[in-house]
Symmetry: C2
Amino acid sequence: MPSPFDTHLDPVDANYQPLTPLTFLRRSAAVFPEKTAVIHGDWQCSYREFYARSRRLASALKQRGIGKGDTVSVMAANIPPLLEAHYGVPMIGAVLNALNTRLDPAAIAFILDHAETKILFTDKGYSAVMKEALALATAAPMVIDIDDPLAESGELLADEDYEAFIAAGDPDFDWRYPADEWDALALNYTSGTTGNPKGVVFHHRGAYLNAIGSVLSFGYDSNTTYLWTLPMFHCNGWTHTWGLSVAGGTHVCLRQVDPKLIFDLIDRHKVTHMSGAPIVLNMLIHAPEDDKRVFAHGPIDIATGGAAPPSAVIAGMEKMGFRVKHLYGLTESYGPSTECVWQDEWDDLTFEEQVGKVARQGVNVVTLHEQRVVNPDTLEEVPADAETVGEIVLRGNTIMKGYLKNRPATEEAFQGGWFHTGDLAVLHPDGYAEIKDRAKDIIISGGENISSLEVEEVLFRHPEIMEAAVVAMPHEKWGETPCAFVTTVANGADLSAADVIAYCRDNLAHFKCPTKIVFGDLPKTSTGKIQKFVLRDRAKES
Amino acid sequence: MPSPFDTHLDPVDANYQPLTPLTFLRRSAAVFPEKTAVIHGDWQCSYREFYARSRRLASALKQRGIGKGDTVSVMAANIPPLLEAHYGVPMIGAVLNALNTRLDPAAIAFILDHAETKILFTDKGYSAVMKEALALATAAPMVIDIDDPLAESGELLADEDYEAFIAAGDPDFDWRYPADEWDALALNYTSGTTGNPKGVVFHHRGAYLNAIGSVLSFGYDSNTTYLWTLPMFHCNGWTHTWGLSVAGGTHVCLRQVDPKLIFDLIDRHKVTHMSGAPIVLNMLIHAPEDDKRVFAHGPIDIATGGAAPPSAVIAGMEKMGFRVKHLYGLTESYGPSTECVWQDEWDDLTFEEQVGKVARQGVNVVTLHEQRVVNPDTLEEVPADAETVGEIVLRGNTIMKGYLKNRPATEEAFQGGWFHTGDLAVLHPDGYAEIKDRAKDIIISGGENISSLEVEEVLFRHPEIMEAAVVAMPHEKWGETPCAFVTTVANGADLSAADVIAYCRDNLAHFKCPTKIVFGDLPKTSTGKIQKFVLRDRAKES
């Protein structure tokens, strides 16, 4: 006999609706209609206008025949049309593909073809690369220019401009919620250190939950002012594009990571929150003193991830009036899946001890179901001994739907019922995970494992070193040995390889010290990750 | 051809897990193991212990053969075992039925039978009523006593006590998430002003979302200390029972609403948040001055709902160091569905104007999909003119699964795809709803509608009136006319009916003034709602 708790109690419209971040903007437009939603240079708009512009976009897209499951690509800096696309595109069931602005034309052409892009919005500032990409692509999407007034150069590629396009749309457009919360919402290509990029598909359910997770992590509320130092194309800005609408906060747009402009905007708009890779923090720290500001309204919360913030970076940021929060995540996890939650008792530690705590990736965010550090073969959890290395695996509703048109990669990523991050970590006795390396970045020297991250952390603490990356170099005797690639700060030109090696020997076990130092710029992926495979090749050749 | 966004991208364990509030406690136990989770008198326990005790309960229940879909009833004050039941019971797929401690034996017996209770935990303090209820009930559940050390009287009814019961359970019990987020989690009987109570079924998905909604509404974080002035049996304490675990906050238990004890506990534990019906606020305001405290750590946020807080109550609370937040909701909506969100520009209003704003029920909480004020026949939205009265209807994932074993009532409540609240409201131009009355509480005098709430609000402002309720009284000429039932404050014994009527005529349109005043205690439901149907009968008889 079926349980009475399951009889005549099926979902109906009144008690079951798809989870979708679209509800957040509709509510903020109702609750905070006159509040400033978006600031871009001297332009700004209220939540009422933000919502109306997003509805115009949805309506105009529908007029052109765009609908459910169609891909809408946007190549743009962090500007209002890209924010509007986060709402207008899914309002008609279409899928937002925010293009990585640092990609080359061939990679963009690959994406336009793979994503089967139906319509492309392209920011004038990226016209050179897009012109070439469109020539290379097999697909021939409709093209609409975004003639951003703050773009300093570039040309228009099409006959139609975004403002004219949405002007033809209806600001009261009767948009629809997705039929199913599992419907695709966004498509983000991983930068990939090798091979073709993979298309990570987000669904409405995951975006809704991750956006709420970001609000819970950072404590966003209606007084939050968020500066866009993080690219919106990067996992949809870690879903903060939607998260700010949960709280009714204000977006401050930003075309490029320019330290002087960032300091100006923080001061002018009383920015409360921002995010970015450690390199962004580094750029702020090493900005000319004249460009810096003392903030009367601080401290400013800055979230960082992608790599652990070196202690020198945390110290430098705190000195300037920031509070650093360490996160970890991947495109496949909608951005942050893991946060280093501050514990009250850390207040009493020394600064160095605090940095040691904060440099760890930490625990799962509330909205991720579960995180484990496991033996990748058996999926058994490693002991919380801060020593046994395992792989971080994730599970929950804020994990991608899968890779678009790539069943083998999807199945491999989800093997055994967990998403495999490929990041190797230890679990501390307090349950906080700490990444030791990417699986392929471990250096094995004389049978001993060397964490490239540990060596990099020491290099970062050197006052004349701005960036550092350490990879394995073949060695006749030891098998492998560390090779360090280093860029120096402006006044660090005198630093020699011998100086760096001597410094390392003072601060590291000798077997862990780099035997070779290479000075110069570091090759990076379009999302700012250092391309270690390039460095490994260089190390081999040298 | 199916869309590539729907091909080989089905949910799997890695990216789809049931939403359930059980994840919150598991995470808080991992992230805040040593933090104080629950305080009860001089007893307290950490999150590690709270989780272990909940797992022991789950394990012990399983040992007794309790499993999926079985009802576990708990008759208890706001004490630790009831909090633990919010986790331990659903860990094995069973359904928590927190009994209303103010019910009479016949009502409890009805519920035990209707809910098909398999096991009952009963607090010594309620042994008299439970002994009678068990004698009346057809069902014969297992009975376990809760021998709460702070219960002042009562006897033990069974051979086994809660502490012994859970001691036999495994603190590392390998509990399971629900198979489906739509599975039943809790069963709460509405007090019902007439007829048999209805069993409102909550599911895991709704409890997860509403708990998160409560955190977003109140800004709970790991520094939150919540005092249980609200009954936990009331929609599972508006889901704060689970919400505190989202944030890692601290519960302070409370056996009874005793103003002196409340002031003491606020001061002793630096309470930051609490909730309660307006009558609780009233009791605090009218407490002897000697019992009150000045709080150095304030202000204390207090959420109230069930009826709009009268301006005198808001003023009185603010004077004592509280900040009042007005909510609205029903058992069917897991508690709060609606909140009066504060707008920055209200800062500049006079206190009277602010109270006018705050007395409105407001807008839907973030996690409710949608709220409307509609013509109940056509479901068309009323104009936002602050005048046209319509019914508040709600829709979303935080609406009950339905009424247990009551298909007709479920279908009636969900007619037309919305949950019908039965509350009549206007919509203000700023989109905030304001309840004018329950459908059946409107007084029609000479063809004019009189809102009983409006008359009550005026009566509440009288310094010598503590509580007031206004109902329709038959009248030969006008059809109906208002009759007011009033209780006075301790020093208000001299107030006469003529005084009250004269006061009303000074503050209301004359046709709205009560023509009769009755002094004395007001009859209330077990959840503290005034029983207007009793007053209507009295008004008719008089």
